[in-house]
Every structure is written in structure tokens, then in C-alpha cells.
């Protein structure tokens, strides 16, 4: 149960970063306290300062001014040795990207042994217990690269928790997880917080904010609301469904099968998947981590070959991979692939430049910059923007040529509720413009945006079709 005794606190916390082009004030005088045994959710738009706050709490960065106190002691005043001890066993930090939490050449078991060496508490859960609770006991002897993103995230929590920290700081830990994995993780967090561990979690996930004891909302580096209690789910307006234009499909997938090896096992990434993508329709591809969503997107993007089955592109059954008109297919993967040397605007314009239609899309680029809140950032390098802003830049880039097909993987994974709406608004607008959209996500909250929802599990389409909430424009378009 949460106690009123704070395990960590921030006093007049200011953090300023110097980028190549300007000084960015990430935090502008934040006063906060985090209770022992409480789960605190830090929410806010991309670039609001969440990640900066977390890094300061974990002792990874130094405040420009103000103080961070852990167990009543100022981190800035600590000796380097003491600060390392705090990072080693008092504050556990879980990085946003699951793979960043691992030394690539150590197995899960070896990571846990490392964490156990740093453990100072004897009353915490053991490695076996944690792995069982997180459902990854069978992955113990695997290397991180052999784990799915969800499994990586759970293993990351396992190693942090094994060190017995007083406070765990995590940056969007559920962003890469499907809803069931996220629920399992949150349940475990809840259980541990009752043992006195404080959790500070930066998130856009309404599931986390619902469960949180305290919610802190940051806005442009300032606290907007503090300790508001558990927040109700974020309301998402049900959008207007895009117009349905029956006719030829943009792509037709039938009987796709793909098996690959992960360690000693064979994994059925796709198992007889069939799907029809039509202009103007947005299909949601939902399922747990490892269900085959990304593999399907990869096959459609031409980055992976299916073992069996076919993809018919624009009705041309004979068209080979190399003959497809790739500029008509846009991809928004989870890794954004922005070009570091180009500014935000130049990245968005890049497909048009390659296509030779730069002049004709100038006005459209302006609109995209405005719609996705990127106008003020257009001259910045991607690395000088937040992850959420980078994701919106990648979306704008995907839409700049008004593609026939858009393949998007967790397009709102790094967005707060407001920008999640903005992102899906853009996707709906693209669909209304005639683009066929296939959007992989595990965020159930956004299912209302889809014309159709395909649920996948173990590489198979588990549930054939769900209509949109309105149900008016549902057509049967999938099978398998």
C-alpha cells in the first residue's frame, strides 16, 4: 500500500539541453514527490519533459538547477561512488526501447545473475518467481535478440526488480506490448508496489494511468496536474468512418505462410493468412506481441518472403516484387528510419524529392506539418525532437505522396492521448482520400477508428472480422 513517506522528490527542477540549433528547456521548475509503494504515472504530450524527468530521477543526468532527492538525499550532492550505488540497487531504470535493456551477448539468465549480484534486499521475489510471474521462464537461456519485443520488456523488468530497488523508473514500458502482456506487467507492478516498491512510469497508455495511484501531467516542462488520483480512461472521439469504395483491391493476400527459427524452435509467424486491402478502408491488425502482425507488414512491404501464399498487387497476379510501384506503398514502421542529416521538413519532403514531385507537394507538406504539430520543429534535426515528434514526422513522410497503401506499425505507440487522436485523424483523412490503410496495433482504445479489425494470434487470423463501432460500413473482407 502507498505510504505518505516520499521515496523520491524533485524540488524546483530545471533541465535545459543545448542542441545544435537552440537551447531546449525540457523541465521548467518541477516540484514533485513520489510515495513509497505508489505507482505514479507521468503523462504529457511528446516533448513535454517526461523522459528528462525520468533520467534525472534515475541519476543518469544532472539537473541544470533544483534538486532530486532519493531517500532524502540529493543525487547531485552524492559522490560518484554513492551515485553509482544508487543506480545499481536503489533506482532501477527501464529504457523505452526494450532491446536497450540488455547486453546483447548475455542470455536472460545471465542478466538475472548480474542483477542478483547487485541485489541488496533479500525479501524481494526470486528470479524463478519473477520469470514465472512474467511468463518468460521458458526464455531463460535465450539471448535478447531471440526474444520478441514484449518478452524483452518483461525480461527487462525482471532484471530491474531482481536488484531490489526502492524505486523503479520506466519510460513507456507498455508502448511495445500488446494489451494482454501490458495487463500482466501492470498486475505484477501493482503487486510489487504493495511490497513497498515505488514505480514512476512515463506513459501514454490509459491502462497505466487508470491503475496509477498518482498521475502527473507535464506540459512544456511544467507540472499541470499532480496527484490527481487514478484517471479515467481517455475518451477518444469515434471518428467518422471513411467512405467505402467497393471495387478493385489495392492488394490481396491469400494463404500467406511464414515460419522461421527462433533459437531451437520453429515459430509460425504467419499461418494461412488471407486479407484484402481496399482503397479508402482502414483495417486494424490487432494481437499480442509475436502474433505475426509485423511479419505480415514486412511481407507486404517486400522486406520478407512468405514461404507460401501470394500477394496480388493492384490486381496484377504476375507482378513480381521488383516491379511493384513502391512509391505508392508507404510504410510507417516502429523504427522510424528518419535521416539524421535532414531536418524534420526535409525528411517529410524526402519521398517527394525521390519521386520528382517535390514542387507539387509543398502545400501538402505545410498542411501535414500543421496537422501533426511539427511547424515549430521543421528546421530541427530528428535527434533534437522527442520520440513522439519523430514518430509524427515519420507519419507525415509516409503520407506525403498520398500513397495507395499505407502500412503502419503502432503509429500512436509514442503519442499521448491528444496526439494519438491527431495521428489517427490523419490516418482516417488519408483513408478518406482513398488510401488503403493497414494499421498494426495492440491498443484496444483505438479500435474505434478502424473500418475493420483483424485479430491475430500465433500467426493465424483468430477472429475473422469485427465491424467498426458504428457497424454501418462493415464488409467482409478477410478470411482464414
Amino acid at each position: 500500500m502507498p505510504t505518505e513517506r516520499p521515496v523520491a522528490a524533485c524540488q524546483a527542477l530545471v533541465k535545459t539541453y543545448a542542441t545544435a540549433s537552440e537551447q531546449v528547456q525540457a523541465l521548467r521548475g518541477v516540484d514533485l514527490s513520489f510515495r513509497r509503494g505508489a505507482l505514479a504515472a507521468v503523462v504529457g504530450a511528446s516533448g513535454s519533459g517526461k523522459s528528462s524527468l525520468l533520467r534525472l530521477l534515475a541519476g543518469l543526468d544532472l539537473p541544470t538547477s533544483g534538486k532530486v532527492l532519493v531517500n532524502g538525499l540529493s543525487l547531485a550532492a552524492m559522490s560518484p561512488r554513492r551515485l553509482r550505488a544508487v543506480r545499481s540497487s536503489t533506482v532501477g531504470f527501464v529504457f523505452q526501447r526494450p532491446s536497450d535493456n540488455f547486453v546483447p551477448y548475455l542470455t536472460v539468465d545471465e542478466h538475472l545473475r548480474l542483477a542478483a549480484r547487485a541485489a541488496k534486499r533479500a525479501d524481494g521475489p526470486g528470479a524463478e518467481e519473477l520469470l514465472d510471474a512474467l511468463g518468460i521462464a521458458h526464455r531463460r537461456d535465450h539471448l535478447p535478440e531471440e526474444l520478441s519485443g514484449g518478452e524483452q520488456q518483461r525480461a527487462a523488468f525482471a532484471q530491474v526488480l531482481l536488484a531490489g530497488p526502492a524505486i523503479v523508473v520506466a519510460d513507456e514500458p507498455t508502448a511495445e506490448l500488446d494489451s494482454r502482456s501490458a495487463e500482466d506487467l501492470l498486475a505484477m507492478i501493482r503487486g510489487l508496489s504493495e511490497h513497498g516498491v515505488a514505480f514512476v512510469i512515463a506513459t501514454h497508455d490509459p491502462g497505466v494511468t487508470r491503475m496509477a495511484d498518482d498521475v502527473v501531467e507535464l506540459d512544456h516542462g511544467r507540472v499541470k496536474r499532480d496527484s490527481l488520483g487514478a484517471q479515467q480512461g481517455i475518451l477518444i472521439k469515434t471518428p467518422k468512418a471513411g467512405p467505402v469504395t467497393p471495387g478493385d483491391s489495392v492488394a490481396e493476400v491469400s494463404g500467406l505462410t511464414k515460419t522461421y527459427r527462433r533459437g531451437p524452435e520453429g515459430v509460425h509467424a504467419l499461418d494461412q493468412v488471407s486479407l484484402r486491402l481496399e482503397p479508402g478502408r482502414m483495417i486494424g491488425l490487432m494481437g499480442r506481441s509475436g502474433s505475426g502482425k509485423t511479419t505480415l507488414l514486412n511481407v507486404l512491404a517486400g522486406w520478407e518472403r512468405a514461404d507460401a501464399g501470394s500477394v496480388v498487387w493492384l490486381g496484377d497476379r504476375e507482378a513480381r516484387l521488383a516491379e511493384r510501384r513502391w512509391h505508392e506503398i508507404a510504410v510507417l514502421p516502429q523504427k522510424f528510419g528518419l535521416i539524421e542529416e535532414l531536418t524534420v521538413r526535409e525528411n517529410i519532403e524526402y519521398p517527394a524529392r525521390l519521386h520528382g514531385s517535390l514542387e507539387s507537394v509543398r502545400k501538402w507538406v505545410e498542411k501535414l506539418l500543421g496537422a501533426l504539430g511539427l511547424e515549430e520543429l521543421e528546421r530541427r534535426a530528428p535527434s533534437e525532437t522527442s520520440v513522439g515528434q519523430q514518430q509524427r514526422t515519420a507519419l507525415a513522410r509516409a503520407l506525403v505522396l498520398r500513397p495507395r497503401l499505407l502500412l503502419a506499425d503502432e503509429p500512436s505507440g509514442h503519442q499521448d492521448a491528444t496526439w494519438a487522436r491527431g495521428v489517427f485523424g490523419c490516418l482516417r483523412a488519408a483513408a478518406a482520400d482513398g488510401t488503403a490503410c493497414l494499421v498494426a496495433t495492440h491498443n484496444e482504445e483505438v479500435s474505434a477508428y478502424f473500418d475493420e479489425v483483424v485479430r491475430m494470434a500465433n500467426g493465424r487470423v483468430e477472429q475473422g472480422l469485427e465491424g467498426s463501432p458504428k457497424g454501418a460500413n462493415v464488409r467482409r473482407s478477410i478470411s482464414g
Binding site: A58, L60, L62, P80, R81, R84, A85, V86, R87, S88, S89, F93, F95, S99, D100, F102, V103, P104, Y105, L106, E110, R113, L114, R117, A118, S148, G149, G150, E176, L177, A269, S289, S291, G292, K293, T294, T295, N298, A301, W303, E304, W326, H327, I329, V331, P333, Q334, K335, G337, I339, E340, E341, Y350, P351, R353, L354, H355, L358, D409, E410
Partner: protein
Amino acid sequence: MVNPLWAKSPLLLLRFPGLLLSVLAGSLLLALAGASSPLFTSSAARSALASDLEETTVFGAGATIGQAGPFEGRPGFGPNTQAIGYQKQDQILRQTLANVPNLGSRILTLLGATVGVETTGRETEPDQARLLFRTGVLANVERVRGERGNGVWVADTVAGRLGLEPGDTIRVSLPNRPRRIEVAVDGIYAALWKAPETTPYWRSLYGQIYPRTVDFPPPATFLIASESLFKRLTRGLGQDHAQYRWEFPVEGNGLTMPEAEALEQRLDQFQTEISNPDSKLGHALFPQRMFRRIAYDSSMSTVVTSAKQTVSGIQAPVELLSSAGSLVAIAVIAAAGAFAMARRRVEATLLYARGMSPFRIGLKTALESLLPVVTGTALGLAAAVALVRLLGPGGAADGEALREAAKAVLLRLPAAVFLLGLVAAVVFLRRSERATARFGRLNRVPWEIVPLVLAAIAFQRLSSHGAFVREGDDGVSQPSVWLLLFPIFFIAGFAGLAARLLQRPLNALRARADSLPSAPYLAVHRLAGARRLAILLVTACALALGTFVYAQTVVSSLEKTVAAKSLLFVGSDVHGVINYQQNAPRGFPYPVTKTTKVLRGGDLDGQQVDFLAIDTGSFAAAAYWDASWASRSVDELMRELRSTSGQTLPVLVAGEGALTTDELELGGARIPIRVVETTRAAPAMALGRPLVVADAALVERFADRAGVSNPLAVAGSDTELWAKGPTAAVTSALAASDTHPFPIVTAEEVRDNPSITAVTRTFGFLKSLGFGAGLLAVVGLVLYLQARQRSRIVSYALSRRMGLANGSHRLSLALELGTMLLAALAIGAVLAIAAAQLVLGDVDPLANIPPAPLFRAPVALIFAAAAALAGIALVGGLLANRAAERANFAEVMRLAD
């Protein structure tokens, strides 16, 4: 419980090939630099020994024992004064020196009296010859005709005068002695004095073969006989003694310095023993201290000393350059340490977040690097041995040098491991904002200031102390340390600034890049947004290539200068001294001309001048002439010098400005002159003293008209034949000519100066270092590009889907790499040439010979390097593109599935 992080460390780098390669390369280079100094020095010593041995000859360097005495032992003048014969002595000496390493078999010489030689059948003027027996003699003369037999061999000069042919009989006699002995002539050989003094075999008898000066006739030629015939003839003439000479030449190809020193020591010991009658050897040779007028000679000490001096002339620069190579290697190792952290950024960030200390990170990196460093070190040592064997001036190094090299390498090994750990720890520490803030102010100071200040200090030292500050006892001047350090500091400092400044035009270009096609558009943006590492690599490339160009500029300028100086000093390719009365030989196979120089022989404008009388008919073809010296061609000048109205002597004045007089005081007469042309230089001119050149025949005529004796035929005038052509052939032809010029001097001999050798070798080494470092930097740039492309697979995969053609991507990479490499070359070359021009005035190992140092930029080399770099850029772009193409896009994209 074993910590898995440590347990996996020793073999971990096998998972990171790029990192493994950089650690291997760094440690290899460090070992190579460390080992190369003793190995190169040893090889240079071997070369110097070979060169000095060639000059001294193996006979001169070996042991020569000379004595005069009876053929057989005989009793002394008192009791127990028995002397032993030369054959017994021969036996003792052979036994004593038989097992001395690198000493060959003895050559025995019996030199008898000069005898009269006359024919038996017909009346001729008797001639003279000197009786000689020498081991292997007939193999070392040019046999004109005849066969081996029981008779003697006479020189062709004697045979010619006496009309002898093989099979004839001659009669020999001692002067003023009645005895005559007849002996058959087996054959006729070419008189030895006709050949130049280049045959090692005859070196100890040069005094008995060649004339003392050109004014003396050659000594009597040898009457060559077998040992038994020699004794029979001598005894027949009433004598029983001769001069004996035992020679033990140095043997063994490519003597090493330790071997030479051991031989020198053994010969010194031998000399001590042979000179001491109480020693065992002394007693054996001279039991009763009779006939001890022994002469011992060996130039081995001189050879060793000279070789050591040559080596000492290059040792300091070699060690310096070895240190410079080590510095480059240290920079590579430091970069590898930094790369270790950059390549494994995620791991480092995670370990930082988990509270790992920089010390443990350093220790872990050191443990990871240990095996690669050991491997790289072993490879470096092997490469040093192979390179020195292949490219060293004297081939393979000796065993002692190998041991020294191994020791140097072993000392560097832990240093490399420590450095890797240290750099990794420091780079890791930079993750801490607290640590970064501590060094924040220091970071803002441009690092270029340090090398630029050092360059200024080096330049000041060069200006005040000269480029050759160390003069050894032997007069060998060595290039100053500052001469090598200056360009390195100068180029490093300015290259760093230039690389920074390049960002400005690139940013301007980036702003205007909108209209460019995809490939240059991407290349321009990547270049404009280049990170610190790329800038550093360009600077490193510029430094390495600049060092290479600098060394080449100095060497080629020096070669040009020395060639001009040597030719100007000699007058042509070869000159030989003759008498003023002699003329140039007729039918000489190469262009030849006669000149007479009178040092300070004239007075012009109140200033002493040298005077050179030439044969204007043959001068243009045979003498060295640089067209830049005069405004007219040499042929035209010669025509002018020949044409006179009879009133004035046409002259050419070299090295003098405007003249206020029209008279030349020469040989006590005032001769009216007409200056045909004032030239910048002329052959045979001395530094700082003008030279007046005129036609010899006209000079004689004007002197005669002035009533004074010929000013060219005075004591102190030097008459020379100047000949142009291949040195060896011209030298032989001159020596064989009727004029018998002596001595003969070649331009090559002037160029073969230890000071020049020291400079060219030093800069040759610097060039190799620059080339090696350049290669490394270029490879580093290519690897950087490849590594960067691998880390950008996602953006590449997306770009390909957006329509980026494979060719455009390849071209963009080639353009990027090519621009970086060519910019580095341009920066390096410009700075190198500037640095060379700043110091070249001081790089003059023959400062007393005009002209002043000449400059030659290695333009062809720079263009060749540019072409090579462009090729590398294309290949590098291809490789980087292939690395991107080979990536498994699906695997990269599978983040959460």
C-alpha cells in the same frame, strides 16, 4: 558465482569484427613502429657496412701482413737466433686466422725486384718489369693472349715495346748485375694501370700499379710468375729474398654490425699479438726476434667506425619517426577504445544506468582487448621483420636487433592494453554529465591551438638553429628533429581548422542543394551534417597524406638540388684532371670538352673572380647547362663567345649583377672585355664568387697580344676534361683514353654524400610512415562509412521503398567518401607544400656548392594519389552500399513482433 560479463570478455571481440580489426590494426602498428627502429637501424648498418666495404674493398678491410725477408729459415747472428722461412710463417698465419668468422682464405703475394727485360732473338731497347707472384693472379688480369704454362706473363705495354708474343723467350736481369736468366713468355696481359682503380683484388698494390700523379709515368708493370718460378728467377739473379704480403679479405655477403664488430675485435687482438714478440703468436712467427720488420694493415676499424657514423646519422631520425609511428598507433588504439564505446553504445548506456564504474569498464575493455592485442603485436613484429627484410636498405636485420625489437614490442603490449582500457573508461565517464561539466570549459578550446603553437616553436627552432643542427665528428650532418616535427604539427593544426572551416561552405551548399539530384543531395547533406568522428577522420587523413606529400616534396626537391649542385660542381657527369698541354682525346665515344679554371684568377670591378677558359666548340654538348640560367641558349652563347672583332674579349659572367667596368685583369694584363651575358650560374662556379667564362683560344691570343705569359698555364690552374654520359661508361672511357686523366671525379660521387643519404633515408622513412598512416586513415574512413550504413539500415530500407535507386545510393556514398578523401588530400597537399616551402631554404646538405635549394612539388604524385583516392571512394561506396543491401531488413524491422 562467476560474473558473466567478465567470463565472456576474453573472446568477446570476435562478435564485433570492426572493433576487433581496429584493435588489431592499432596494436599491429604499435608493434611495427616499435620494432622497426632497431630492425631498420640494423638493416641500415648492414647497408652502410656493405657500402663502406665496397669503398675500402674486402681486401682493405681484412688483414694484410707484410714483411720482407729470405725464402728459407736461416741462423741469426748469434746463438739461438734461428729465423723461420716465409712458408712456415704462412702456415702459422693461416692456422691462426683460419677459423675467424667472415675472414676469407689468404692471398699470398711475393713481390720481387724490378728487373730489366730484353728479348733474346733480336735487338731491342731493354724494358723494365717487376717480378710478382700472387695467389690467383691470372684470374684477375685481362689476358690479351697466351696460355698457362711454366713461363711468365708480361704486360702488353712491355710486349708492345719489345715485340713479344707468347712462346718467345726473354732475358731478365737485375740492374748493374751481370747475371741473366732466360724464361719463356706464356702470355700477355693488359697493363693494370690502364684500368681504373676499382679492382679490390689489386687494392694493396695500387702504389705499385698507378702513377703518383698525372705528371709521373706509371711504375714498372709486373712480370707475373708462379711461386716456384718466382723463387727460381730470384735465386737465379743471385737473391733469396722478397717482399711478402699475406692478405685475408673479408668474406660473407651482407656483414651485420655485430659480425663486423666481432671481426674488428678479433683483428685488433691479432694485431696486438703479432706486434708483441712475447705473445705466443709473436714468438712462433719470430722465434728469436729476428726480421721483425713487419707491417700490419686493416681498415676494418675504419669501416666499422664509418658505418657506425652513417648509422648514427640516421638513428636519431629513425627513432624519432618510430616514436611518431608509435604516436599514430596510440591514436589508432585510442580511437579503437573510443570506438569500443561508440559501437557498443547501448551496452555502455545500460551498464552506466546499472551503476558500473569507469574503472571496471576500463578493466573489462582491457580484458577484452588482451588477446587481439597479443595477436596484433605478434603480427606487427612479423610484419616489421618482413618489411625490413624486403625493403630495408641492407636486407634482413641481425639477431641482436631482432631481440631488441622483440623487447621493444613486449614493452608496448601492456601499454596498448592499458591505453585501450583507459580511453574506454574516459569515454564511458563522459556519459556522466557531472564529469562532462567538469571538462566543459576545456572542451570549448579548439585542440588545433596545441599543434599550431608547437609548429611555431618548431619553425622558430629551425629558423634559429638550421635544419641540420647536429654535426657529427665525421662531418655527417643530420636532419634536425624539428624538421620532422614541424610539418606534423603544422599540418595537424591547420588541417583541423580547415576541416572545421569546410563545414561553412558545405552548409551554404546544403542550403542550395534543393535542386540537386538525389545522390549529390544526400552526399551534401551527410557531409554538412558530418559528426565529430568524420571530421576527425578527415583531419587524420589530411595529416597522413600531408606528411606523405611533405616527405616527397622535400626528397624530390633535395634530389633536384643535389643533382644540380653535383653537376655544377663537376661541370658535367664526369671530369678528369689532365695537364694544360694535353688536349681532349680524339674519337672519344661521349661528348667531351676541355676546360681550365683559374681560382681567383682574375679581377673584375675590383672583385676577385674565378676564371674558366673553355673550348666553345665542344662546351655546349659536353658541359652541364641549365637553360634557366641565361636568357639565351647555350649554343648561342658559345657562338657569341667565339666571335670577336679583335678589340675585346667576349666573356660570360656568372653570379654577378651589373658591371661598371669593361676590363678584366688577368695574369697581370688588363684585357678589354665584352660581356656577352650575365647568367645566374655556370658550371664549376663557387659559392659567393663570380665566374668569368671565355674561349680558351681567344684568352691565349689576348694574353699574347698583351705581352704576358699564358694565364691559363700557371701553377694553381686546373685543367679538366668534362664528359657527358653514363657515369660508369664515361669513367672507363676517360681512364682508358690517351690523356690518362687523374683523378677522375663523377657527379654521382658528389651526390654520394652521407649527409644527403641521411636526409633521403630519413624522409624516405617519413614517407613510408605517412603512406602507412594514410592507408590506415583511408581504411578507417571506409570502415566508418560501412559501420554508419549498417546502423542506418532502417532509413536505407525505407528510402529504397520510397524510390531511392541502388545506383543513386551507391553514388551518394562514393561522392561523400570521395569528397572527404579528396578534401583531405587537398588540405594535406596544400599544407605540406606550404610547410616544405617554409623550411626548404634550410635543407641544404651541400651548402657550399651553388645553387641555392631548388623546389619541386610532387605534382604527379598528388594527381596519382587523387586518382587512387577517387578509385577508393568508388570501391568504398560500393562496399558500404553492399553492406546496407545485405542487411536483413525484415529482421531489423521486427522490433515488437
